[in-house]
Amino acid sequence: MEDDAPLAIPLFPTSPQPHSTADPHESVPGQVSETPASGDGAQGSGDGQAEPVGITMITGYLGAGKTTLVNYILNERHGRRIAVILNEFGDELGIEKAMVNDGAGGALVEEWVELGNGCVCCSVKHSFVQALEQLLERREKFDHILLETTGLANPGPVAAVLWVDDQLESPVHLDSIVTVVDARNLKQQLADSRENGAVNEAYLQIAFADVVLLNKVDLVTGGTTEVEDLEAQIHNINGLVKIVRSERCQVDLKDVFERRAYRAQPSADLETLLQLDERDVHDRMVGTISFSASETTDLAKVNDWLGELLWEGGMDSEIYRMKGIFNIHGSDNMYMLQAVRDLYEIVPTRSWKPDEKRRTQIVFIGKDLKKNTLLESFKKCVAV
């Protein structure tokens, strides 16, 4: 019938046609809303004007208190202009809804934001990052962005997308991942098994976290002992994570903002790293191991080793996150390693202090990690 139809006039020439059959890849609209907050806001974003705006990704199970945390931050008088992005698709990255708190606590103003649905492939930045950049361009400057993800999201892929090369001079950068955990239900959630041996999201969310907000500690029946027990359990999964206890997500915002967990600069993080004990996992699927070595390493060999470890797989284990410092042959600078899934960078940072013992210290967070295998393979890095 379509074949022999002559030129016909469509039925509804002037009424707007509904934009039905939307598929997830069609331009994803989002909403922006806005609340004011107090203060001059100028102080918020740290040192320079060119300093990129940090993104804090907030993960956690439904009911853990993510929304309470976001509302707390939106309503708190902290003098920062904060945009909140709700990503309700989980892995499907789209700006769903954004809210802005400019520091004084006020009504939310909603606005639609269209995700710049770019051709992802030949552009180095994921369209989600481009959309965030557009959001920054269109509005007054923010001091910080909160990205709230769905309950069952694996933070890994999103973290990898947001960890943009410094070279791109993006006005946004991934600051840290904060996971909100319900202290009452954590044990239960960790015990939940997934089909065909998949890792449950409670583990993943803790494994990728830079900060765990251990919420509802006041509601734990076993008191302090049980809370300490929970903390030990969290640290077994992620030996680097900073744990902050809270009730109804009342936290010092310093613990949430400007952690700089993805910046290869001397930081509090690096000092923590230097102090971390050797550790191993025995009975856990997801856990942290770390070791140190006193031999100097060869940078090219280290790169080869990391490539093998992170890109070639084949060790029956999976690395989610790595951090490390390296004593590199021929350099007086401490090198710092950061890895998220298959992305990594190793860059020189501060120089070794005269009284400091030069060494290499590496932390792995992942699944089915075997310390002996890793130690064995690391020997390839030693400079001769």
């Binding site: 379509e2 139809a5 002559p6 030129l7 016909a8 006039i9 469509p10 039925l11 020439p13 002037t14 707007p16 046609q17 509904p18 934009h19 059959t21 598929d23 890849h25 069609e26 649905n117 770019g118 051709c119 992802v120 492939c121 030949c122 552009s123 180095v124 930045k125 960890w163 090369d165 410094d166 070279q167 791109l168 790169n303 490539g307 992170l310 890109w311 070639e312 298959d342 992305l343 990594y344 960078e345």
Partner: protein, 403 residues
């Protein structure tokens, strides 16, 4: 039935999907607007296009012959024939030049109505939908495919055809020729070879190749602007044939160009040559950017960072992503059987890019010139095979190759 309609059937493409159009917008008819922008293959396409299409009515209702606010549009003749300015990544058109703080002397020109691809030519999914669904959901976005000998044979053939088409475009370049004319040549040659021009309707890109003049870095849309003596113009061709894509581009001189432009184009050519020389199994993808970046800085030039090389094959764009700048975090090590492009974009001034209101055209932020060269490459057991390499028949357009 309608004689006029029958006559036009073979010539007018659906604004949305490029199939032959069979319906037209009644509002446009009433306003006597050009039919090329008002034709649709089906009620579905018309419906889907309505939200962007209807803008044509309001913006055109106060102009008939290119006169806007009493000022004669310099492209009145083109506009009267249904040529329009591209907007929203190709999803809408406007008879008015959008306002923009243009970074250099170049301006957007109206683009011609969409060109048709005959029904019998196999095409990728985006030809009708504008979205490369298959590509987006492919496993090859996350890991790099090792091509089979059969796939490689097909790619080799497709890439050679792509090369021949680019060579045809190269021969047509001279002052006075419009980039739309280049597009027509590329479009028709692709079809004649039995191929589909991959860029056409890819994420709604409106044309069959990219033509990037002077300060345009990449993704320039072929339009009504005649090339001028002293311009440089990059033509980026991708052909879909044998079920796979072959992608290449070169930057050409229009007439006599100044020394600085010649140096820019030549250095860019060398950047690609040096990157190719590096390719062999075991090399890390992040090395590519180091080599390109080094050669560009040696020549006082900068490397565009926002666009990168990409895997290619049955998909137009897939893993790996290959940045052209130094200190990148590209993933992976090259392995025999992998196929990808390297396509450095090198700027005379700063590296930063801006986007024109058409949503595609990337220009230098400082308005200075930019050049690019691209090949599709196969990693072999011992090194590299340039699948889109120049042929003995390729025209002599680069002085440094004739010596």
């Amino acid at each position: 039935m309608n004689g006029d309609g029958d006559h036009e059937l073979g010539h007018v493409a659906c604004v949305r999907c490029s199939k032959p159009a069979r319906l037209q917008c009644p509002k446009c008819l009433e306003l006597k607007l050009p039919r090329v922008n008002a034709s649709f293959c089906s009620q579905e396409c018309f419906k889907e296009s309505w939200s962007s299409h209807k803008l044509v009515h309001t913006s055109l209702s106060h102009k008939e012959t290119g006169e806007l606010n009493g000022v004669q549009d310099p492209h009145a003749a083109a506009l009267a024939q249904g040529w329009m300015y591209c907007l929203r990544k190709g999803q809408s058109r406007s008879p008015q030049l959008p306002t923009f703080d243009w970074t250099g002397p170049l301006r957007a020109y109206p683009i011609s109505p969409r060109r048709l691809v005959p029904d019998q030519i196999p095409r990728p999914d985006w030809a009708s939908t504008g979205r490369p669904h298959q590509e987006i959901s492919s496993e090859w976005q996350n890991s790099v495919e090792i091509k089979s000998p059969a796939q490689i044979a097909k790619l080799r053939e497709t890439c050679r055809v792509g090369r021949e088409i680019l060579d045809l475009a190269a021969r047509a370049i001279k002052p006075g020729v419009t980039t739309d004319e280049i597009d027509r040549i590329v479009h028709e040659a692709t079809i004649a070879a039995g191929g589909y021009p991959s860029p056409l309707n890819y994420h709604f890109f409106p044309k069959s190749c990219c033509t990037s003049v002077n300060e345009i870095i990449c993704h320039g849309i072929p339009d009504a602007r005649p090339l001028e003596d002293g311009d440089i113009v990059n033509v980026d061709v991708t052909v879909y044939l044998n079920g796979c894509h072959g992608d290449l581009n070169e930057t050409f001189f229009v007439g006599k160009v100044d020394k600085a432009s010649e140096n820019l184009v030549r250095s860019t050519y060398e950047c690609l040559e040096k990157a190719i020389a590096l390719v062999k199994p075991g090399v890390r993808y992040r090395e590519v950017g180091e080599v390109i970046s080094r050669h560009a800085s040696l020549n006082g030039l900068s490397v565009v960072k926002s666009y990168c090389g990409h895997g290619i094959g049955e998909l137009f764009h897939c893993a790996p992503n290959i940045p052209h700048y130094a200190r990148n975090k590209a993933v992976g090590v090259m392995k025999a059987g992998q196929v990808f492009t390297i396509e450095p974009m090198i700027n005379a001034g700063i590296w930063k890019d801006r986007m024109w209101p058409d949503g595609w055209t990337a220009v230098t932020a400082d308005g200075k010139r930019s050049a690019q060269f691209e090949h599709t490459l196969l990693v072999t057991e011992t090194g590299v095979e340039v699948l889109t390499a120049r042929l003995p028949t390729s025209p002599d357009v680069f002085p440094w190759l004739t010596r």
